[in-house]
């Protein structure tokens, strides 16, 4: 969290107007809340606390309800991630190919003792349950790009990229 905050201070915090524009773009859709939250996270890298009352007001629902939805889903962050996001699949198919050992190695190489963000804010490592790459595991996703058959060589390449 600390490192995440350090990173947050680098980008200006979103204004009320920024937030309202994104909410307004989706407000007329059937079931607008998830598209709104995805829109906010896409723009700001997280769901700013200040957005919750604005969304509640514009959708005419309670703030608690908005909070309840945000907290239900694994995808939504309350603080920005590191500059890169590395998702490591831990599902059964990847486990059968040794994902646990490679995951541990990646964390060690990044100086992390569990999933989270490196102190320099370069990378956030997150677990993910299944990327649909189950016939080429262990699988990962780096900034939205799928990576398969993770081994020492690919891992080194990945780590070089996230440190750059």
């Amino acid at each position: 969290m600390q490192s995440a905050q350090a990173f947050a201070s680098e980008s200006p915090s979103p204004t009320e107007e920024d937030i309202r524009t994104i909410v307004a773009a989706h407000v007329d859709r059937e079931g607008p809340l998830l598209p709104i939250l995805h829109g906010l996270q896409h723009a700001f890298g997280h769901i700013p606390q200040s957005a919750l009352p604005l969304i509640a007001g514009m959708l005419n629902i309670s703030r608690a309800e908005v909070h309840g939805v945000v907290s239900f889903y694994h995808d939504f962050r309350d603080a920005p991630a590191g500059r890169h996001v590395l998702k490591l699949c831990g599902a059964e198919a990847c486990q059968s190919m040794g994902a646990d050992a490679i995951g541990a190695e990646i964390l060690r190489a990044l100086g992390l003792d569990r999933h989270g963000t490196t102190p320099d804010g370069a990378v956030t490592v997150e677990p993910v349950y299944c990327l649909g790459l189950c016939a080429c595991g262990p699988a990962a996703m780096l900034d939205g790009r799928p990576v398969g058959r993770l081994d020492a060589e690919r891992m080194t390449t990945l780590l070089r990229e996230v440190r750059a």
Binding site: E30, G31, P32, L33, L34, P35, L37, H38, L59, G68, V69, F72, Y73, H74, D75, F76, K87, A91, E92, A93, C94, Q95, S96, M97, V128, Y129, C130, L131, G132, L133, C134, A135, C136, G137, A139, M141, G144, R145, P146, V147, G148, R149
Partner: protein, 505 residues
């Protein structure tokens, strides 16, 4: 010269983008004219990136290709695999749903139509709604999302439900480990899903459709969105479907990383912008679904199979299969396997034929210990059950389930106690929280398995009781079926639960 390099996520994960870039660069350097097509995957993931080249005498396959292979590939000195259709893994399949996947250019509606696409929809447009539903019923198609519910019966309920506005919701949440058929078809043949949804809409009287795709699938989301825009632009979607005067349109919605949102009522809540909590049934989603209105919720493969049923006729589809499992099953062979990928075939092959023969055993070369069939809620099948044929009832009779037809193979290094523990942990994390046996039971389950691991034999009957409680007292299959992997691991691999761990540790 035409060259195909897949845009499928698995191919990209194995370097397809780099290969495509190398081919483009090398061709430019040599001044060779090429047409580079990004196709879907042919489904042989161990050969990805699988490149196909047509120098005028038909498509020839090469793979797996790395960028360093590209000069030889273009020189024509690289040994090939022959036509894809001659590769045994491919040649043995019966491709109905996946007939076009990898063959055509995914975003070319022209290419789609040239390979049988839209023929089913054109036929459906000449039929009355009850005839459309009847055709699906007669095909014997059962939901491929997991529960195997007859699709025609579901459609019929929605057709007869009163309501001004009805919906077709496509479940593209594909959360199960070991499954990727939904992703592959969306990336490789998106129009088949679109066409299936339009036929469903015309059949039950729905004018609006949603495809709820999990956020872990950025490539599929992108391809589907572009395909929908093209279909709309070319009159397959919109206010006048193929000039019929009928209306149907589709929108993509993106999930947010919750496994339980694959459960249909949780999915509907999520689509409405709520927490993905499971709803009690009744009311059925068919009667009170999205926004309380009549809704068909079907899996991607169920819907993408509809066009071929209408193109070739219900009878043709129903002729394939075994017992009450009609048509083809899109097996996804995954995990520790030599030849992993998508294998579409009539229901009826045995588990052993699939694992030993088609998949060729493990990638590690070690003996197969267990195969988890049907995702994280499916049973671990030991070798003793390898003669079980692929069929809904046949698997059920062996204490297993087919689910979305994913198979995850494990070699003899697998620790079944750890896998049982993982199943409980997964249930605890992903529980929607509505029922106690699931929410609390799964946490107790992890603790109980830890006691077994620590050498407490009294904990074994406790685990069995707990699984009974979860099975009987859960609203949905997350809590209700987690006992499958746990109990099958315990029953078939008791050695892994014996108090040997202290010495081992």
């Amino acid at each position: 010269m035409k060259i195909w390099v897949p845009l499928d996520s698995a191919a990209i994960a194995l370097g397809a983008d780099e290969v495509a870039a190398a081919i483009a660069a090398q061709a430019a350097e040599r001044g060779v004219e090429i047409e580079l097509i990004r196709n879907g995957s042919r489904g042989m993931v161990w050969l990805e990136p699988l490149v196909e080249i047509d120098r005028g005498a038909g498509r020839e396959a090469f793979g797996p290709i790395a960028p360093r292979d590209v000069p030889a590939l273009l020189d024509g000195t690289l040994p090939g695999l022959g036509p894809v259709e001659s590769i045994p893994f491919f040649a043995r399949q019966t491709r109905l749903t996946f007939a076009r996947c990898g063959l055509i250019e995914p975003l070319s509606l022209q290419d789609y139509a040239a390979h049988g696409g839209l023929a089913g929809l054109r036929r459906a447009l000449t039929m009355a709604a009850p005839e459309i539903v009847d055709e699906v019923t007669r095909s014997g198609l059962r939901g491929r999302g997991g529960a195997g519910f007859p699709t025609g019966i579901k459609w019929n309920t929605v057709l007869n439900a009163p309501g001004e506005q009805k919906y077709i919701v496509c479940n593209a949440d594909e959360g199960d480990s070991g499954t990727f058929a939904d992703r592959m078809i969306m990336e490789g043949d998106p129009f088949s899903l679109i066409e299936g949804m339009v036929i469903a809409g015309i059949g039950v009287g729905a004018t609006r459709g949603y495809v709820y795709i999990r956020s872990e699938y950025p490539v599929a989301i992108d391809v589907m969105e572009r395909a929908i825009a093209i279909a709309r632009h070319q009159g397959v979607l919109g206010s006048d479907v193929l000039g019929s005067g009928r209306a149907f349109d589709i929108e993509v919605r993106v999930g947010a990383g919750a496994y339980v949102c694959g459960e249909e009522t949780s999915l509907l809540n999520s689509l409405e912008g709520k927490r993905g909590v499971v709803r009690a049934k009744p009311p059925l989603p068919a009667l009170e679904g999205f926004l309380g209105r009549p809704t068909v919720v079907n899996n991607v493969i169920s819907l993408a199979t509809v066009p071929v049923i209408f193109e070739k006729g219900a009878q043709h589809y129903a002729e394939f299969g075994l017992g009450r499992s009609r048509g083809t099953v899109t097996l996804q062979i995954a995990g520790n396997v030599r030849r992993g990928g998508l294998f579409e075939t009539a229901f009826g092959l045995t588990l052993g034929e699939i694992v030993d023969d088609i998949a060729g055993g493990t990638a590690s070369g070690r003996p197969v210990k267990a195969v988890q069939v049907g995702g994280p809620l499916g049973a671990y099948m030991p070798r003793e059950k390898f003669d079980t044929p692929m069929g809904y009832e046949e698997f059920d009779g062996q204490g297993g389930l087919i689910g979305h037809a994913g198979l995850v193979v494990f070699d003899d290094s697998a620790d079944m106690l750890q896998l049982a523990r993982f199943a409980m942990t997964f249930c605890a994390i992903e529980s929607c929280g509505k029922c106690t046996p699931c929410r609390i039971g799964a946490v107790r389950g992890v603790e109980t398995i830890d006691r077994i691991a620590a050498g407490d034999p009294d904990a074994i009957p406790l685990l069995t009781d707990l699984c009974d409680t979860m099975r009987d007292g859960s609203l949905c299959a997350l809590g209700g079926f987690t006992p499958y992997p746990v109990m099958s691991a315990l029953t078939h691999f008791p050695g892994d639960f014996a108090p040997r761990r202290k010495a081992a540790a």
